[in-house]
């Protein structure tokens, strides 16, 4: 049975843990709001870009020599898997879920006989995958480490992908990230970035759509829009992932705060019982001493 002094120390330590977790929860809530606002602010650009891409793609049609970002390299042998996670832990299952989704994807692709390369973005995901798939890493990139996500981070990654694609380092590129559904749930999602599947290819042109003129010409415009669109898709995923991280951290810290409260109640009860037992013991000793005299 622990002594009163030990119990007091334990209650004190759980109380300070609770202070930390509740502060982390509030910080995560504030960051979540900010990230959600940025995600909303980024939507109009993505929507307009999608519309313009589908116009340009429809105008280009099925002409030969389309950019590989749109139609791929014509092969499907080498897959690049980008795993987007956070740099910091204490966010519940956030990073583990993304890493598991990535591991499943890699296993599936390898079973199909494909060559897989991995590009982890964010320290946690890289740490989780390095033991099994460290030899497949082409590079390790840092995440946003809880700060605001600048668009330049997404466009840098986009430029890197374009360079890798033109150097024939991969044929298909898939991004694994946590899609933000709400504060409680983040869904690990696979998004194929190259060749483009959503947007330009799928959007059918409305029959009453106006006939466009293009300047300089539709091929040039499309070739310039594709890398931009890639960066925008990465940016949207980065914002979703950042919001998901804060949401997951908020939920995890909320339950940690509640658990700490329960632990404090339990320990306080134990402390009081022990104190009571000590007093009773002392009384018995005094009474039996008096009786002996």
């Amino acid at each position: 049975m622990p002594s009163l002094k030990e119990l007091r120390a334990r209650i004190g330590s759980v109380k300070s843990t609770r202070k930390i977790t509740s502060a982390m929860k509030m910080v995560a809530a504030a960051k979540l709001r900010r990230t959600q606002l940025s995600a909303e602010a980024a939507r109009p650009y993505a929507a307009a870009m999608r519309r313009m891409m589908s116009e340009a793609a429809a105008a280009v049609g099925d002409a030969p020599g389309l950019p590989p970002l749109l139609v791929g390299t014509g092969r499907e042998q080498t897959h690049l898997v980008i795993v987007m996670t956070s740099d910091r832990g204490l966010a519940g299952g956030f990073n583990a879920n993304a890493a598991r989704a990535a591991r499943n994807l890699v296993r599936r692709l390898q079973a199909e006989g494909k060559t897989v390369r991995i590009l982890p973005v964010g320290r946690k995901g890289a740490d989780m995958l390095v033991r099994d798939y460290g030899d497949l890493f082409i590079e390790r990139l840092p995440g946003s480490s809880g700060k605001e996500v600048p668009f330049s981070a997404a466009s840098d990654l986009g430029d890197k992908l374009v360079a890798l694609l033109s150097a024939n380092k991969f044929d298909v590129c898939t991004l694994v990230y946590n899609r933000f559904v709400n504060v409680m749930s983040q869904v690990p999602t696979e998004l194929q970035l190259v060749p483009l599947t959503s947007g330009a290819n799928d959007d059918r042109k409305a029959p009453d759509a106006p006939i466009y003129e293009f300047e300089p010409d539709e091929e040039t415009l499309l070739a310039r829009m594709l890398p931009r669109n890639l960066a925008i898709q990465i940016y949207a995923a980065m914002l979703e992932s950042a919001a998901g991280e804060q949401g997951a951290r908020m939920t995890a810290m909320d339950s940690a705060t509640r658990n700490a409260g329960k632990a404090i109640d339990r320990l306080t009860q134990k402390y009081n019982r022990t104190r009571q037992a000590n007093i009773t013991n002392e009384l018995i000793e005094i009474i039996s001493g008096a009786e002996a005299v």
């Binding site: 940025s38 602010a41 980024a42 109009p44 650009y45 307009a48 870009m49 519309r51 313009m52 116009e55 340009a56 668009f151 997404a154 466009s155 106006p210 006939i211 466009y212 003129e213 293009f214 300047e215 300089p216 539709e218 040039t220 415009l221 310039r224 829009m225 931009r228 960066a231 925008i232 940016y235």
Partner: protein, 134 residues
């Protein structure tokens, strides 16, 4: 009849309002967006977007390249980055120009598409220096 102009950067919507005319820096020259113009999609060079109202220029924005979409009575400008002319800093612009020129010197001279893109970046930085000096 006014034309609805939206200037959108990847991070946020900068302008969304109705003006009489918007003059946009196209890759092959400036083009005005006015109501009833035939639909046009445009590649932008680095330059200044002028918003005209009542015969005068009411607002000027510097855009560092991007795309514009004119259709009917609306003009959507997707800018790589956009700044109000008054907020441009000549020092930052000069630093960007120096960096862009250094990048051209460093780059492989035989890689024509890459050279084109870098030259565009230099042109855009030069336009920014010019706009910041106005």
């Amino acid at each position: 009849m006014p034309v609805k102009v939206d200037i959108i950067s990847p991070e946020r919507v900068l302008v969304s309002r109705e003006v009489d005319m918007a003059v946009v820096p196209g890759m092959e020259g400036d083009i005005a967006a006015m109501p009833g113009r035939a639909p046009l999609m445009l590649l932008l060079r680095g330059g200044v977007v002028d918003l005209h109202d009542g015969g005068t220029v009411t607002d000027r924005y510097f855009v560092a390249g991007g795309f514009a979409d004119f259709r009917g009575d609306s003009c959507t400008i997707l800018a790589d980055s956009a700044t109000k002319l008054a907020d441009l800093s000549p020092q930052d612009a000069a630093a960007r120009l120096a960096a862009a020129e250094a990048a051209v010197d460093r780059a492989d001279k035989d890689d024509v598409p890459a050279q084109d893109l870098l030259q565009e970046a230099v042109q855009s930085a030069r336009a920014e220096v010019e706009a910041a000096g106005q």
